[in-house]
Each structure stands twice: as C-alpha cells, then as structure tokens.
C-alpha cells in the first residue's frame, strides 16, 4: 500500500510580505517550517506505515527554500521525498501541479493538511482530490482501515463539536485536521543524515507542464498586500508588569 503526503513549507514571523513584481505570488523572507496540519498528516501516514507497512512518499511544490521540510519528513520515517521545483502561490496552480506530479506515482491514499498558514485557502487538498477524480474529505480527525484494508473508516469534523463518520472507497484524498495523532520527536542524527543525502527535485517540464500551459492557468494577480488596519476602538495599555497588572485586574473586577 502507498500513501502520498502533501507538505508545504511556510514562512514564519512574516514581517513585510509584498506582491511579486509580476503579481504571480508573494515575496516573503525568513525561515520556512512545515505547515502545522501537514505535520499531523505526515504523523498519521507514518502511523499507518508502522501498522500496515505502508510506503510513504512526501511531496512538496516549492523553491529550494522549502526542501528542509522534506529532510524532516525523511528523518521522521518517510520512504521517499520529492520536491517539485516551482515557486507558486495560487492554490489553483499548485493543485494542478500536484495532480501532474501524482499522476506518475501509485497511491492508495493521499493525505494533506487542512489549511496552510500563509495561503489560508483550505483549497489545495480538495482541489487536488477533485482533479484526480478521487473522493475527498476535509477536516479528518480519525482514520482506520475497515473490511480488510479495502475501505477507509473516517471521522471528520463538521464544526461546533459535531462529527460525521464515513466509509470511503480507496483511493481517496483526506485533508487531515491538526491533532489527529501525537507529534513525534525528530532525531537530530537522522535529520543530519537526511540533509546530507538531500532530496531529488523535479522541474515542471519533467512533469510535462509547459510554460504555455502554466500561463494559460494564471488567472490571478496579487496586486496589493497590506497589514490589517488597527482597530481604532482597541485601547492600548502600557506600563511595567506591576502597573499593567493593577490596571488589568481593576478592569476585570469592574466587568465581573
């Protein structure tokens, strides 16, 4: 059995994001880490590997800046990692590229996270599943195999504490919600080893995606990014910790 996990490297502590000059994305600086819910998707895949001997392949679409999350995935126990070398931001394009990258892989199950912290679209997973013609489920909090290993038994969130239980045919795409399994520690020695070995990258032309095809799909331009406007009715409190504590406790006592 094969599982593909889609992982995204996301920048942390973003200070001043700006649109790229051609509008095709966002420029950010700083280190990239594995997106939070993707980390859980990977953990879930590795749990299935432990129980069923599943083969786990990690895939990301990103620039060289994103390759370290693949080193992490290998150090944690993924069998293979592939980086598609493309610095794309539009979820319509990213899901298309992933669908092409996955066309050459065999899989029984594709796992993604629920939402990336930078793109915030909750879209790439479902769009990928739909483009591959698979059944898809968003916000999965539990999964197991039923009826031998034929069907997937899935619990998913519906919000407000409601959950739905489903039986899903394989192959399927599941967007894994954070918290599905405890996160495990990444042994530094394995990480050093994975970094030394490196991960292979594939270009868009390796996937048979031409420049024209990509240009045809580019329907969106980022024209502006600005910080949230400060809410003028928020009152700012300042002072040393003791002064602040007195003011805060006073406000609280009056409100109770």
């Amino acid at each position: 059995m094969n599982i593909v996990v889609c992982l995204k490297a996301v920048p942390t502590n973003v200070k001043d994001p700006v649109p790229k000059s051609d509008g095709a994305g966002i420029l950010t600086e700083g280190d990239c880490f594995m997106n939070a819910s993707d980390d859980y998707a990977l953990e879930q895949a590795l749990l299935l590997k432990k129980d069923f001997g599943t083969r786990v392949t990690a895939v990301t679409v990103g620039s060289v800046r994103s390759q370290d999350i693949l080193h992490v995935s290998l150090a944690k126990g993924a069998d293979e990692a592939i980086r598609v070398d493309a610095d794309e931001f539009d979820p319509n394009i990213v899901s298309f590229i992933l669908s092409r990258a996955l066309r050459d892989l065999s899989y029984d199950l594709i796992l993604t996270g629920v939402e990336s912290s930078d793109g915030m679209s909750s879209q790439v997973g479902i769009s990928l599943g739909a483009q591959l013609g698979l059944p898809y489920v968003y916000a999965v909090t539990k999964m197991a195999f039923g009826n031998g290993e034929d069907r997937l038994l899935v619990t998913r969130e519906l919000g407000g504490g409601r959950y739905q239980t489903l039986e899903v045919d394989k192959p399927a795409l599941l967007c894994v919600q954070s918290g599905i399994a405890p996160l495990t520690y990444t042994p530094p020695v394995k990480l050093i080893h994975a970094r030394r070995k490196g991960v292979p990258s594939r270009s868009l032309s390796d996937l048979g995606i031409t420049g024209e095809e990509l240009a045809r799909r580019r329907k969106t331009k980022v024209i502006e990014i600005k910080p949230l406007e400060k809410n003028s009715s928020t009152q700012w409190l300042s002072g040393n910790p003791e002064q602040l504590a007195r003011v805060i406790i006073d406000k609280i006592s009056k409100a109770l």
């Binding site: 959950y163 024209i223 400060k230 809410n231 700012w236 805060i248």
Partner: protein, 336 residues
C-alpha cells in the same frame, strides 16, 4: 430563469445558516453593479418549511433541490447534485460559504467546471475584466487584494460575517423545484453516522476565562495560567494547538471546532486570533489580549490590548489577583 450569480445556501433543514445572508448580500451588491440576476440553490431533504422562510429573500429565483439522497451531507452526492443544476442555470459566478461544506463543494465544483476558485474571501468587487477579491494571508495579519480574470464561470467562497450590507432588500423570488435523478454510480463515500462528544467540563458557564494559545510555548509553562484562572475565580480555556498537543482536554477548546463562549471577561494570552478561534469568543463582553506581536489579529477584537511578553505579565497578574481577592475578602469580612 438563468441568473448570472448562483449562491449555494447553507442551512440545518429548518433554518438558513446566517452565512447565507452574507452571500445573498454580496450577490445583490454585485448584481446591482453588473445588472445581473441572483439565484440561490437550496439543497436538502424536506426543505419546504425552509423555503417558506425564504419567501422574501433578496434574490430573483430560488432553486430547490429536495431529495432523500440529500438528507445527510455527503460531498460526492452534493457536488454531483450542484453540478447537475448548473447544466440548467449556467451562472457566471458561484458564491459559497467558506465553511466545512463550502470548502468541499467549491473545490469539487471548480474542478468539474475547470473554473478558477478563490476561497476564504472577505470582499468581492466586480471589475470590467473580472473580480477583485480581498482575503487574508500570512496568518491573517495581512490582507491581500487579488485581481481575478473572469472565466466562463468563477467560484468564490466568502467568510462568515463578511456581508457588505446591514439590511437586505425584500424581494419575492420565484421558486423553481428541480429534481435530482438517482445516483448512477454508488457514492464512494457513505455516511455512517453523526456524533457529538460529551464534555466533562463546561467552560461556557464560567464568567471569566483565561485562554492560552501557542504563545505559551511549552506544556511546563501552563501552571501559572491555571493559577491565574483560579485566583480570578474563572476557568482555563485554550486555542486549538494547545488541545492538539494534548496539554488540555478538548472541552477547553474555544472556536469553530470547539465551543462558543460568551463570558463576562476573556483574557487571551499568546493567542494570535485566527478566524477559527475568534468565531468562538467574539461575543465575549470584555476581551483583553496579551500578545508580543502588535499586528496579531486578536487585537482587532480586543477591547484592551497589551503588547508584551505574557511571561513577564502573568506573575504580576497572579499577585495582583490574589491581593485583590484578599482585599475583597477583608472588606467582605468587615461589612458583614
């Protein structure tokens, strides 16, 4: 009638989910600018009562798809059903809620139509060549404006509460019943049940909540916040990551996928204020937020904001809370 804008309604069988009014408001606004018509699609089983409540909706037409196969929500069945309606209506723009259902249906539809989809939007403005949308990026501390070229059909999903209008005009839309032919291939997803967890502790009853987020960094740094909650006579609450990591049980989770709370005081410590968290606490009477990042979205809804390190402030807060409790006890003692 073939409306250019089609809205997919959300409801619980008897009542419209308020997000549907947000969508109708955006639909009417765009329609008046473009001189378009707006339709709303209501899918479900036994939706007659619901249709009755929608008699004066601010749309031109209501498409009702009432079928037993639509009783439980199932993405396979729902996406197919909406796609079949589209063969009859051919809209230019489809609007959905950025919700659990909307996320699945919009992604499925966009793939079927080979349409550009933008989700989680806060605003839409039609332009001669397409649409401008505003949506959050980078953890919600920034807003991006995107220019989308119009295709044969565009799909856009909108956040809850994003309505540009306070009041919707009254209209008397035509109601058109549609029928879904039974599934040809058996759905690859089968709904086997729905559950609601029972919570051991009910934080919705507390007058004061000390809520902790990922900013606390480590599980070992949780105790001072428990002490603070106790000193203030309140309860401890948390954002999702704290529960995901197993530091507090799920009954403490506030937000979209947790509980909705409305305490007299909500003290948010090291919480960024994601839309999913805020959905569960925005109606708290007094919101005080402490965060070291002045651009954190939590400050958008906080009545009082403190930019600083929680670990410097919390010990002082505990001291002050205990002192204040002592004072109250003493004054209580003398007056009695």
């Amino acid at each position: 009638m073939e409306p250019e804008i089609l809205i997919v309604a959300e409801h619980n069988g008897s009542e419209l989910d308020p997000i549907t009014f947000d969508l109708i408001a955006w639909g009417s606004q765009i329609a008046s600018e473009k001189n378009w018509k707006v339709g709303v699609l209501v899918l479900g089983f036994q939706v007659n009562g619901l249709l009755e409540t929608m008699r004066r909706s601010a749309v031109d037409v209501i498409f009702a798809l009432d079928d037993p196969v639509l009783q439980d929500y199932n993405s396979c069945v729902y996406v197919q059903a909406v796609a079949r309606t589209l063969m009859k209506t051919a809209p230019r723009l489809i609007l959905l809620g950025h919700t659990y259902l909307g996320i699945e249906i919009s992604g499925g539809l966009a793939a079927k139509l080979d349409a550009t989809l933008w989700s989680n939007c806060l605003a839409i403005k039609p332009t001669p060549g397409g649409f401008l949308v505003t949506r959050p990026v980078s953890g919600g501390a920034f807003l991006s404006t995107l220019e989308i070229e119009s295709g044969a059909c565009n799909v856009i999903s909108l956040q809850r509460g994003s309505s540009p209008l306070k009041e919707l005009p009254i209209k008397f839309p035509e109601v058109i019943g549609l029928s879904v032919p039974p599934e040809s291939d058996p759905a690859r997803i089968k709904v086997t049940g729905e559950t609601k967890p029972s919570f051991a502790e009910d934080i919705t009853k507390a007058d004061l909540l000390v809520a902790v987020g990922r900013g606390i960094g480590q599980q070992s740094r949780l105790p001072p916040f428990l002490d603070l909650a106790q000193a203030l006579g309140g309860a401890i609450a948390a954002s999702r990551p704290i529960v995901d990591m197993g530091w507090l049980s799920v009954d403490h989770q506030v937000g979209l996928s947790g509980v909705t709370v409305r305490p007299k005081v909500y003290l948010a410590c090291g919480i960024s204020g994601s839309a999913q968290h805020v959905a569960g606490m925005r109606d708290s009477r007094l919101i005080i937020a402490i965060n070291e990042d002045p651009s954190a979205p939590i400050f958008q809804i906080a009545h009082y904001g403190i930019v600083g390190d929680i670990f410097e402030i919390v010990p002082a807060l505990i001291n002050e809370a205990r002192r204040s409790a002592d004072r109250q006890e003493k004054s209580g003692g003398t007056t009695n």
